[in-house]
């Protein structure tokens, strides 16, 4: 897989440190599942955490015997199912067929994934050749391609590619001809649509 658009250093460090909103961590975990390059960069940022861990000590009250007497739970990580990387399988509760889509019109569908409220995450299904309404962003929007590809004013984004859109980007993503496009999108602010119709629908569809 040729991935061209990656996590940036701020997101990698934030993910390594564990300070991202859940929806952004979901995107980071999914991209790293697809991208060996970012997996290696993440390991380096986690090594910074290892260095920070060596910075100081606080005396323990209980010793190693108390520790060995404890049992801890270890939930197993999910594996990829079809186009869905492991982290998303966990949220969806299965593969693509388990996604509970809601129509947004024009064949476009979305499914909100349950996360903390600090940011929202959803799966988007865009039929080949269809455009998502022109929208800008109040905050940051991360869009990760899981199937197919889309183009906007910035570039082409294929499977594994991550678009990081800030406030300045006003764009019309168009799904390429060929396979329908499925994306994971996360944002820490409501999207801003130029046309009044989608804006009225926004509270209903939570986009």
């Amino acid at each position: 897989m040729m991935i061209k658009h990656h996590l940036n250093d701020e997101l990698l460090m934030g993910y390594a440190a564990g300070i991202l909103p859940e929806a952004f961590s979901m995107v980071a975990a999914t991209h790293v599942s697809l991208c060996d390059d970012c997996r290696a960069r993440l390991a380096a940022y986690e090594a910074v955490g290892g260095a920070v861990l060596e910075e100081g000590t606080a005396a323990m009250d209980a010793g190693v015997d108390a520790c060995l007497a404890r049992s801890v739970e270890q939930p197993a990580r999910k594996r990829r199912q079809g186009v869905m990387p492991g982290p998303l399988v966990d949220y969806i509760g299965g593969d693509l067929s388990a996604v509970k889509w809601r129509s947004l019109g024009m064949g476009v569908r979305q499914a909100i994934l349950p996360t903390s409220r600090s940011a929202s995450a959803r799966l988007l299904y865009i039929p080949a050749g269809v455009a998502v309404p022109d929208h800008g962003h109040r905050g940051m929007e991360l869009t990760l391609v899981l199937q197919g590809a889309f183009r906007d004013s910035e570039d082409r984004f294929g499977v594994g590619d991550l678009e990081i859109a800030g406030e300045e980007l006003q764009h019309i993503p168009v799904a390429e001809a060929g396979a329908d496009c499925i994306c994971l999108a996360a944002t820490d602010a409501p999207l801003r649509f130029k046309d009044w119709m989608p804006r009225i629908l926004q509270p209903i569809f939570r986009i």
């Binding site: 460090m13 390594a16 440190a17 991202l20 599942s33 060596e54 270890q74």
Partner: protein, 198 residues
């Protein structure tokens, strides 16, 4: 070549090792492969107080930090099979477990994990890779201690969970460039490793 002999050879060849440091990876491998309680005791003695300090810095009270540090070290014992010394130093690996415990305690934002790689538990790990992973943490510790106080404090706050991701992006004093130059070598090694195995 046994790990200790490899290290001595590196030291004699005039490389960066100037003092004998405890071989945490070697102890962790004894825990992993032989369930060696004495080795775990030594690891506990070093890392449990560091995990407790880390969790207190992250905002936990001393009793909660004590309890969670015990959980973290119990996880180190229970998940020892997942320790791969060519991918991370013991400090780095324990940091990731402590980070996850900190996130559980905060009960705000979950942190989903990437898929596991399938190349865990190679029979004969390359001792040079093991050494490189441990050395990387030492080099990063040295790099951290050389940073100006303000920058160092920012890095610490981020890893203690006391800095938001938007603050990372906005914070011009954050020495991401400095860190990047320090970890470039480690990155190259990790990339090589990943391309060999995937």
């Amino acid at each position: 070549m046994p790990y200790g002999a490899f290290k001595s050879a590196v030291a004699l060849s005039g490389a960066t090792v100037t003092q004998q440091e405890t071989d945490w990876s070697g102890l962790m491998i004894k825990v992993r492969d032989e369930r060696d309680r004495a080795a775990f005791g030594a690891l506990f003695g070093h890392f449990a107080p560091r995990v407790k300090y880390f969790l207190m810095k992250a905002g936990s009270t001393a009793p909660v930090a004590e309890d969670c540090a015990q959980d973290v070290m119990a996880t180190v014992w229970a998940k020892a099979a997942q320790f791969d010394p060519t991918r991370a130093s013991v400090a780095t690996w324990i940091f990731t477990i402590a980070r996850n415990r900190r996130i559980d305690v905060a009960r705000r934002d979950r942190r989903p994990e990437p898929e596991e790689l399938d190349w865990m538990g190679e029979d004969e790990p390359d001792q040079a890779d093991v050494y490189a992973a441990a050395e990387e943490t030492r080099a990063l510790s040295a790099a951290l201690s050389e940073l100006p106080e303000k920058q160092r404090a920012l890095i610490q706050r981020a890893y203690y969970g006391d800095l938001s991701h938007s603050e990372i992006a906005a914070e011009t004093g954050l020495p991401l460039g400095t860190i990047k130059s320090r970890i470039r070598l480690a990155l190259d090694k990790l990339r090589l490793k990943l391309s060999e195995t995937s």
